[in-house]
């Protein structure tokens, strides 16, 4: 790992915050960063890793900020990027929005956090829940001498403090599946995958021991149950709290959860499924006069389910004008700053088919630069439904005080990167 220093720069490359961890790279080297970035961008050779002589800059951009780590060693790249993302995550939990303004307003806390996040170029405590216990936002509150080390800093379970108490012990489980789809201009599906996550919202007292049961195919095979209603999960990833050895042995997902919100696990399914919302489009461009767009959307899911908040964005040329729409359902709106027409349908039942027509004028003088061919994008949400058919069979909660806790489960399928190319 070993980052030598971490910088937070504004859009122009001026350092807002800098923290020198190791002292083996001169802090003034950061002045080379912006010119280098601009130069590479002009050459069309921009990459997340830039180097100037012996110094390597690993950078990411977040809103109007650049986070840059410098190193002169052959560092582990993915670890440095992960650390920078973690830093953003921690800052976001403190300031809600991370941008130049919030950095300027909270620079004392930023320094405090940077001090705890990393020492001598090595990440230390990066869990924001634990950091929040001893670096508080109300910096005006004077805690004279009585500031204590939270037990978690030294705890064996580093992600949960002891002595948490709730009046009502509850767990909310959200099973969310995002559908990523890429369809070629001729209508053939290039890529279709489902990325699932199970998110937990934990309001439990003490140090509870949780066990989650899913209709996992491997588990069903192990226990000799019928495979009918089981799902084959690929590429399963767990939060740190899950005992991986137990999962490997008998596919049991057992853990002591952190307090509050967290992502318990993620999985992937690359089995081909029918695209949930299928789009057929005809975009006819008559140079110098007009563009005519016809879009047909079809819900290819169960009739009982309903997709909510459907938004279909169709690209139009940037010099188009005087829009006219006709839709069989929902409403269409021209968003000139993004060069798209957005067709919104509040509720879209399965099996239904809708139509939109749009008409745009084009200027008689064609503009010089060529435009790309942006794809049609679709956003939607289908509640009470998972594409994979995954189910939470049980959630056992055991705590030594023996309280009864209620688990609540919610299923939702939503669009991820859902794109249909246009010709």
């Amino acid at each position: 790992m070993s980052a030598s220093a971490v910088f937070i720069l504004d859009v122009k490359g001026k350092p807002l915050i800098s923290r020198n961890y190791k002292g083996d790279v001169a802090m003034s080297k950061i002045e080379h960063f912006m010119p280098l970035l601009v130069q590479r961008e002009e050459e069309g050779a921009l990459a997340p890793l830039l180097s100037h002589g012996q110094v390597h800059f690993l950078w990411i951009k977040h809103s109007n900020l650049y986070l840059v780590a410098t190193t002169s060693k052959n560092a582990n790249a993915s670890l440095v990027y992960s650390f920078l993302y973690k830093t953003i995550e921690v800052f976001c939990e403190y300031f809600k929005e991370l941008e130049e303004e919030s950095i300027r307003d909270n620079f004392v806390i930023v320094y405090e956090l940077l001090d705890e996040l990393m020492d001598f170029g090595f990440p230390q405590t990066t869990d924001s829940k634990i950091l929040q216990e001893y670096i508080t936002q109300q910096s005006n509150k004077l805690e004279t001498g009585k500031s204590r080390v939270p037990p978690t800093v030294t705890n064996a379970v580093s992600w949960r403090s002891e002595g948490i108490k709730y009046k009502k012990d509850e767990v909310f489980i959200d099973v969310i599946e995002s559908v990523n789809l890429l369809v070629n201009a001729n209508g053939s599906v290039l890529l279709s995958e489902i990325v699932g996550t199970i998110k937990l919202k934990v309001f439990l007292s003490g140090m509870p021991e949780l066990r989650l049961g899913l209709n996992d195919r491997v588990l069903f095979e192990l226990t000799g149950r019928s495979k009918n209603k089981s799902v084959e999960l690929e590429d399963v990833k767990f939060h740190q709290c899950v005992r991986l050895s137990r999962f490997d042995n008998d596919r049991t997902i057992s853990f002591i959860p952190p307090d509050g919100d967290f992502e318990l696990m993620s999985y992937r399914l690359s089995t081909q499924v029918k695209p949930l919302i299928w789009i057929e489009s005809v975009i006819e461009k008559f140079s110098h006069s007009r563009v005519e767009i016809m879009v047909k959307a079809k819900g290819q899911f169960k009739k009982q389910s309903v997709a909510n908040g459907v938004e279909i964005s169709v690209p139009v040329p940037s010099d188009a004008d005087s829009p006219r729409f006709k839709t069989s359902v929902g409403s269409a709106k021209y968003v000139p700053e993004r060069n798209v027409v957005i067709w919104s349908i509040k509720s879209f039942p399965g099996g239904k088919e809708y139509l939109m027509r749009a008409h745009f004028g084009l200027p008689s003088v064609e503009k010089e630069e060529v435009e790309g061919r942006p794809p049609i994008g679709v956003k939607f949400e289908i509640p009470y439904f998972t594409v994979s058919g995954i189910q939470v069979r049980y959630m056992k909660i055991i705590e030594k005080s023996g309280y009864q806790a209620l688990p609540w489960v919610r299923y939702i399928t939503q669009s991820g990167d859902y794109q249909l190319r246009t010709s």
């Binding site: 790992m1 070993s2 350092p15 807002l16 800098s18 020198n20 921009l46 990459a47 997340p48 690993l58 990411i60 582990n76 790249a77 993915s78 670890l79 990027y81 992960s82 920078l84 620079f107 004392v108 320094y111 405090e112 001090d115 020492d119 001598f120 090595f122 990440p123 990066t126 001893y134 805690e143 001498g145 500031s147 204590r148 080390v149 800093v153 030294t154 064996a156 580093s158 990523n180 890429l182 201009a185 290039l190 890529l191 690929e234 590429d235 990833k237 740190q240 991986l244 050895s245 999962f247 490997d248 993620s266 435009e371 790309g372 061919r373 942006p374 794809p375 990167d417 794109q419 190319r421």
Partner: protein, 693 residues
């Protein structure tokens, strides 16, 4: 905030920090300190208040302490003598009952980075290593490495190293990992920390307790451990298998590397290992973070280099999405190019072909080169696609396609026929040096199969003078010579011309221009001036009327009459065909003073030829003239009346100016003829202006 010089700010802050009223009010005191830090961050030199800040460190307010210590770490190298004063407070804080304060003080003290601090920090570090709070132990462990760095690679303290090795058994996971990091730094000279069997097994057992950073770090250290037996190897692989499923990409990559390295020693498990790491790598390639995705793609490429086809069945994962940044798209194209096989070649090529017409020229070119790469194996399909691309007649596409062809016929001679058929017509869409070179090379080497090859080359020979790239000329010479050998009849003449051009132009061609106007004007500029001169020289031979007739459509009838009347209108009588040489003109021009200067309105573009023609009509000769459209535009004119009085004129159009500046010189000072001459000139220019509008 009003602008203040840094001295004023320092003075003001110094006063505030010393003010006992502010010191008594904790919140105000802290606010002043915050301002100091703010200015420090903005890059103002705040070292002037060092004394006052040291005093401010003696406080119970931990936030204030943090700020002051941050300040000290920044400025200690600048003010080492003053920083020593702070050591006292720091040492005291190192034995504070609050572990947070102890840790903070120790961390700051180790980060002071100034000479002479070592002797003060040694004892606090040793105490820190045995502190009951793990927070302090973490700091102390890394402090050992900092202290070692301060010493500057001096001898290694054996006792300290032993202490650190024993702390590897600490119950706090971060202390354990920090120990490894610290030992690594201290033992750098001796090859880093030694991982023996007990340490390796201890670390393996602690893995699940570590956070993601620790896990990745430990995985990296475990690379040094060589399992003694195959059984042990499999135990390790089984134990670490779950880390391939970690949600942290860093850990996944670390585990992947360990698997690959361990498998290197036992070749027969290698395939199994590669199969196991495939999933995690693919997942990382579609990670939400672009940077991590980029890193993963780079690693996939690395694997593909030695194992082409390893990811072939997953080729669709590497299709580009519209909104992805450039660097990811380029990586994906490279990957696609490497994993092509019989089953997916059709789909991959179809996808790549879509990219070839992308708006971004760089991306389009990368895609074309990728197709060229695939063409080495799947020649026919690729050459067909490339040929179709030529039909788009886009410069940036044609040039790359031709370059791809050049490389291809070299590697796959069987496609020569197809390439030769595709080439005719390309020359119209190539402007850049690389593309021209490729085309000329192809025409030279395979010219006998391309019917119009000599004629395309002839065009290049014709324009060789204006060719700016020496490499293109070289290529042309070689290619033409080659083609001459196979098609002598068609090439002999132009080869002769080209050789003549090449030989006759001495290397130091500038020597002939030395000490002339050329270096003053700049070469290109002079070339245009002298070109006009050449044209001028033949003009007088033409009968006046015929030259006028040629300009008929340019000067309408009514104007013609006016123009023709002009010479009689005044006492001025300009003599026709009074031709001055450029040298003579130059000499005279330089020797005379400007007799008259005037500015006429002038708008927009015009044809210098028209002007020249019109001036010719009234017996004013053009000596030299800039090319049409160049800015500034200049023309030099001369005329002589019947008494032998010379009128030399300069016309000047400045860029962006809508006026024409006229300067006239006369060899005999005669105001009335000068005035008549100017009115003639005015009329002509006015007429041209009218024709234009």
């Amino acid at each position: 905030m009003p602008y203040l010089g840094s001295e004023d700010v320092v003075k003001e802050l110094k006063k505030a920090l010393c003010n006992p009223h502010i010191q008594a009010d904790r919140l105000r005191y802290r606010n002043v300190i915050q301002r100091v830090i703010r200015y420090m961050t903005q890059g103002l030199d705040m070292s002037g208040v060092f004394m006052e800040m040291v005093k401010a460190s003696a406080t119970v307010d931990i936030v204030q302490k943090k700020l002051v210590y941050l300040y000290m770490c920044t400025y200690a190298p600048l003010k080492p003598d003053l920083a020593l004063l702070a050591i006292n407070t720091l040492c005291k804080d190192c034995s504070d009952p609050n572990p947070m304060v102890r840790g903070l003080a120790l961390r700051s003290m180790c980060s002071l980075r100034m000479p002479g601090v070592q002797e003060y920090i040694q004892q606090p570090i040793l105490n820190g290593l045995r502190d009951k709070a793990s927070y302090v132990r973490r700091v102390a462990v890394l402090g050992c490495a900092k202290m070692h760095n301060l010493h500057g690679d001096s001898e290694v303290d054996g006792a300290l190293v032993n202490e650190l090795y024993s702390l590897l058994r600490d119950q706090d996971p971060i202390v354990v990992v920090n120990c490894l990091r610290s030992l690594e730094e201290i033992l750098k000279q001796e090859g880093g920390v030694v991982i023996n069997k007990p340490i390796a097994h201890h670390l393996l057992n602690r893995m699940s307790k570590l956070d993601q950073w620790g896990q990745a770090e430990v995985l990296n250290f475990l690379l040094r451990y060589q399992p003694r037996s195959e059984e042990e190897l499999f135990d390790i692989l089984n134990l670490l298998d779950s880390f391939l499923k970690s949600s942290s990409p860093g850990v996944v990559m670390g585990a992947t590397k360990l698997f690959l390295i361990l498998a290197k020693m036992f070749p027969h498990v290698q395939t199994d290992v590669l199969v196991r790491v495939k999933g995690p790598l693919l997942a990382a390639c579609s990670s939400e973070s672009r940077e991590l995705c980029f890193v993963a793609l780079c690693h996939v490429r690395q694997i593909l280099h030695s194992l082409p086809g390893h990811f072939s069945s997953h080729y669709k994962k590497f299709f580009c999405s519209y909104s992805e940044p450039h660097y990811i798209k380029l990586q994906k194209v490279e990957v696609l190019c490497e994993l092509v096989n019989d089953e997916n070649v059709q789909q991959v090529l179809e996808e790549l072909r879509g990219y070839c017409t992308d708006v971004s020229a760089d991306f389009a070119q990368a895609a074309i080169f990728a197709i060229g790469g695939i063409a080495r194996t799947y020649t026919d399909q690729c050459v067909q696609i490339l040929t179709e691309l030529l039909g788009l007649r886009q410069e940036h596409i044609t040039t790359v396609v031709v370059q791809t062809f050049r490389d291809l016929v070299w590697l796959c001679p069987q496609c020569t026929e197809a390439v030769c058929q595709a080439l005719p017509g390309c020359e119209e869409n190539i402007q850049d040096s690389e593309g021209k070179q490729a085309l000329i090379w192809l025409l030279g080497v395979h010219g006998e199969r391309i019917p119009n090859a000599p004629y395309v080359l002839e065009d290049f020979v014709e324009n060789v003078k204006s060719e700016t790239f020496p490499a293109v000329k070289m290529e042309l010479l070689t290619a033409l010579l080659r083609l001459f050998l196979s098609r002598p009849a068609e090439c002999q003449d132009m080869l002769g011309r080209l050789l003549y051009y090449c030989i006759e132009r001495p290397v130091n061609s500038w020597a002939s221009d030395f000490n002339t106007l050329v270096p003053v004007y700049g070469k290109a500029h002079w070339a245009t001036i002298s070109k006009c001169q050449g044209a001028e020289r033949c003009d007088p031979e033409l009968p006046k009327t015929s030259s006028f007739a040629a300009s008929g459509p340019l000067i309408p009838e009514e104007n013609k009459e006016r123009v023709q009347e002009l010479p009689d209108s005044g006492a001025l009588m300009l003599v026709p065909n009074r031709q001055l040489t450029a040298d003579y003109f130059e000499k005279t021009w330089l020797s005379l003073k400007v007799a008259h200067q005037q500015v006429l309105p002038w708008r927009g573009e015009f044809h210098p030829d028209t002007l020249q023609m019109a001036l010719q009509v009234v017996n004013i000769q053009t000596i030299a003239m800039s090319r049409a459209g160049s800015r500034p535009w200049k023309a030099y004119l001369s005329a002589q009346d019947d008494t032998g009085c010379l009128f030399l004129t300069e016309l000047l159009l400045e860029p962006g100016n809508s006026e024409m500046q006229i300067s006239v010189k006369q060899n005999e000072a005669r105001t009335e003829t000068l005035n008549s001459f100017i009115s003639v000139l005015e009329t002509v220019i006015g007429t041209i202006e009218e024709i234009k509008s």
